[in-house]
Symmetry: D2
Subunit: 364 residues, 4 copies
Amino acid sequence: MSAPDKKIPVGILGATGMVGQQYVTLLANHPWFEITAVAASFRSSGIPYSKAIENRWCLDTPPPATLKDLVVQDATHITEIASRCKIVFSAIELEKEELKKLEENYAHAGMHVVSNASAHRWTHDVPMIIPEINASHLQIIPEQQKNRGWKGSITVKPNCSIQSYLAPLYALIRAGYPISKIFVTTLQALSGAGYPGVASLDMIDNVIPYINGEEEKTEKEPLKILGTIQDGKFVLHTGLEISAHCNRVAVRDGHLACVSIGFQEKIPSIEETINIWQQFRSVPQELNLPSAPFMPIIYSKEENRPQPRKDRMYERGMGITVGRVRACTLLDLKFVGLSHNTLRGAAGGGVLNAELMIAKHYAI
Amino acid sequence: MSAPDKKIPVGILGATGMVGQQYVTLLANHPWFEITAVAASFRSSGIPYSKAIENRWCLDTPPPATLKDLVVQDATHITEIASRCKIVFSAIELEKEELKKLEENYAHAGMHVVSNASAHRWTHDVPMIIPEINASHLQIIPEQQKNRGWKGSITVKPNCSIQSYLAPLYALIRAGYPISKIFVTTLQALSGAGYPGVASLDMIDNVIPYINGEEEKTEKEPLKILGTIQDGKFVLHTGLEISAHCNRVAVRDGHLACVSIGFQEKIPSIEETINIWQQFRSVPQELNLPSAPFMPIIYSKEENRPQPRKDRMYERGMGITVGRVRACTLLDLKFVGLSHNTLRGAAGGGVLNAELMIAKHYAI
Amino acid sequence: MSAPDKKIPVGILGATGMVGQQYVTLLANHPWFEITAVAASFRSSGIPYSKAIENRWCLDTPPPATLKDLVVQDATHITEIASRCKIVFSAIELEKEELKKLEENYAHAGMHVVSNASAHRWTHDVPMIIPEINASHLQIIPEQQKNRGWKGSITVKPNCSIQSYLAPLYALIRAGYPISKIFVTTLQALSGAGYPGVASLDMIDNVIPYINGEEEKTEKEPLKILGTIQDGKFVLHTGLEISAHCNRVAVRDGHLACVSIGFQEKIPSIEETINIWQQFRSVPQELNLPSAPFMPIIYSKEENRPQPRKDRMYERGMGITVGRVRACTLLDLKFVGLSHNTLRGAAGGGVLNAELMIAKHYAI
Amino acid sequence: MSAPDKKIPVGILGATGMVGQQYVTLLANHPWFEITAVAASFRSSGIPYSKAIENRWCLDTPPPATLKDLVVQDATHITEIASRCKIVFSAIELEKEELKKLEENYAHAGMHVVSNASAHRWTHDVPMIIPEINASHLQIIPEQQKNRGWKGSITVKPNCSIQSYLAPLYALIRAGYPISKIFVTTLQALSGAGYPGVASLDMIDNVIPYINGEEEKTEKEPLKILGTIQDGKFVLHTGLEISAHCNRVAVRDGHLACVSIGFQEKIPSIEETINIWQQFRSVPQELNLPSAPFMPIIYSKEENRPQPRKDRMYERGMGITVGRVRACTLLDLKFVGLSHNTLRGAAGGGVLNAELMIAKHYAI
């Protein structure tokens, strides 16, 4: 895949929030994209980006100097933003129905919306993409455009909680080992709750064994991602059941998942499992997308890995680390998976989605 | 149960370690027991207790003033210790075979050993007791004494990782709902690793998804506890399979367990489950033992509980808090359990075992 | 001091907030007081207390059962509250001028207001009390009542940041060693910022070297507390200069202060300093007030103490622990002080103030 | 300064420890140096480096692949190591007198020892270098070599606790504002204690207000660094007094210092102070050394900065961030300083020292 002839102008909706800050950081020096619009709610608009994020910047690296003077636009001024960019990354926090409508309006105005939000995840003609798993789901885009009379489009990414183990499971499925049962307990990082998110008084010397809505998403979203398209609609994957427990722990970044799986028929050996993971390459690697991890899944041999702080930055936060594969008493195999929830699991995943759309000619 | 006529003299092996410090604290004002001996390895012996724990005391409450001048004895000087006490609480860290031998020598010398260690957990005539579950297993003591020619005895308690959910599961079994499958992921506290234990550099902003030997214990020990005695030997409980993932998290005290269970036959409703737990009373409550929680299991209705810091001290750290009972996609029910790992799960559990032995006339 | 004949009815303004929760907890079983009113902003009023604190209770002990059904009143309904109680503890969060007015209205309605807020700390006829230091400042109350035509009164307590070292310094001053210079760096706990307060993303693996307004309060409030009353007005203590650095650290409760002091004239030896502290008793001890620590200042001999988690609960959180007294290269002595910021430093301090007022017949 | 013609072979003593791991990481791709020897105590020697660090690697980035098979040598086999390298970085943990001797033996064998240890800090002809402050102190090296009959040399770096503020203070002194008094309270990171270092049970929800030996070093070492050489000996800087409080906090990396300073004569304005810091460049910048920060001191305008997690990686961990300059009630100015304790404060500082020696032709 060669790069686009010239940089593609992009905008970020919700650019002042935590995920928006990640987008801004990842896109500031991106080889294919150029930030031409940053938008937020009315309240934060009309002032330079540097001003809008004052006392709200929560990343450890400073904001990109190039955006300092870019004036934040009101995200509802769609025509104005449409005149400036082709793709918008949606990370704005709005009530669900309102956000749905807003993203649709952007698509209607000709922009390709790549969304982090859950609003459109279950819309029948909107693809929910993890590029290593279901790049082919982008095929629904022309159908979506036809249905709606849009020149633009809407694509979403799934919840961050499933990114630490779904690609490893897909790698096994693709290698001929269909899976029928998944038990997963997640230990999720604080950044997943946004900023300010969880109060420090609730996290020091503590665990919170509950994240609103997370278990439902964890149990259902994989069925759409692993599903197929029939007659212009998504058909959910069948024969797979998932049970999830989701916990919040005192970790800054990196969602960890303890996973037990049962196979439908034959069971790979531990050695074969590891081998399948280490060899796994998929569409983003074949297309050599700028944000694609070279080796999307790495297996750590040390008995006490992966660990959030030590493994979350593998492949610039875009790779997945797995470890501790062993037999499960009740199902077939157990393992631990980890990925960076605001890179692979949020902004990084969104950027990779956009790159995939460009490379596959679904956008621009 | 009325209290013994006069206080029973007891000793603590490994009194300078973390669990030993908990024993010392719990026993210093105990209505039935009186500490007459504190013992440790040769290295720490021959000096007053206050000196021996200097810079090693790791509890948040200060050491009991009454023990200040008690000279720490060499734990291998059994005859001397036997002349002073009837019961010894074993919390000494030794290589497994060495410890086995030492505990046997104490029993041989006429003392009743109540051990926290794993050394004798799988010895065929040694009971592994959680008083609310298998108080009846103490019946093997006369057999044990006959086999070995001992006047004393050895009783052990199980690993701390299973205490957060085994009594709630037993309550359901006892109420007529036998269980066939348990999936459990534990989020375990730092104090479970002793002192100094885990390095702070490994725990700040991190999770360690591995605890040496813990998953094996979690999967096997319940089978002995729920088992029966036949022909003077323990027969493991059958028809139950357990699969465990064990993690270390940045929490001081309190092991949390995310549990999914499948029943053998009929399934209690959520309402009935909660009711069984709240109504659950067992031998320690009937005997009104000094360390027994009045209501051993409490159900927390708030959707984000139990939490280690908020719930670990329920019933002075001797009760178990459960919450979030809900349907499980793969098995039947899911819930979260929590107990204090160094109180209920270690020293407190040991003291309760000793109280049970006294009340049931197996010791003294 | 004998207890009042019958319990005195008290109210709590801001009863649903964090400090309010501490008040409720401390007063639920108080020998002298009885909670007859809990009040909050309009938004939280009109519902039972148990409902009002749902998902907002942030203490580790559960809310007192006795208050469950007490309906939360609108704090602006002063007449109604006045018909029910004699003393109100003010811990409500309001804009400064609004709060000033509200507290004045309560005093006007005949109630004795004991306030945690800073609104009236610099009002010329309002005493700012640490009972061990300036109990005599209550003498201004009759003057205050005359000035304002009040039957009630307003008394305030100082900021939590100065409680870890001001009583120890006063003990030295009272013993004949006037102090001219104080250098203090505080390491303050999260609960000092209220709930939700500091975001966990800002505190994991971090320190925040700034607390809004805290350094100013730390440098000025001691001058009023150590001051005198002349012609019905407070005259600030002179000859003392304080320089403060205030930091927020990842500790739940317990403010720690690193202090260097210079004396005006003669300098006590280290031994004498420790002796003065250990011997220190003052008005609350003489009056044997229910919340008074028996020994208000304790000196810890261990070289690495005081530590927040280990020492904050000394004397039920009402005592101060000092340690590490040593020579200072620049001034005369250095030491470390610690106190519990929401007990001694907030609600506990307020309750002690109210007890003092009762015992000294300034209220009731 | 142009790079050396070919890479200089270097060794690391104590290569398996925490600081040693930092050295290995920094030197693996260094433009001037090539690691040709890794040495440790006898216990860890004779095996490949990858084996020696198994379960001991404590950095978040993986060990450099290039060193995997390099066999760890016994650090006492000096001749063997001398045959392989010209410079050795000493980060080995030994008893003080033993280490002194070992470092001398290396110098005697012709190697230039750049040491992190405190053993030789007070040796009269050994320079203690912070390259931005006292590069000129390397002039003592020929004297040292003559005195001892060495072809090699010994150079040391100071304690990590003073790096967060000494360069900013030196910048002011150099600009004509001599300083007479320094009050400093440090909040130091866990990595400063090495690995395993502080127990997590001591750091969760806690602060330890004591670090063995740290306050003494903080108060004395600046006097040598700011001193002069007279008659081949170091003469301490006079007219400056320092008072230090040192605390350990739950932060992984980054020492923070709260500093108050008094000037000897004239006092710079706040604006001038900031300007002096931002303009400050010194020898490493002039020589364009590979590890030199381009702008060694940066001033952060945000009111709550510097913060360890957000600012420690400024200039790859080699720069110093200062903030909150304001007037001090007792002295003249207050500010907060921060630097990365294992980069600028340990291995990075050592590498910069070695680069300086090469550039100034004191080594090789």
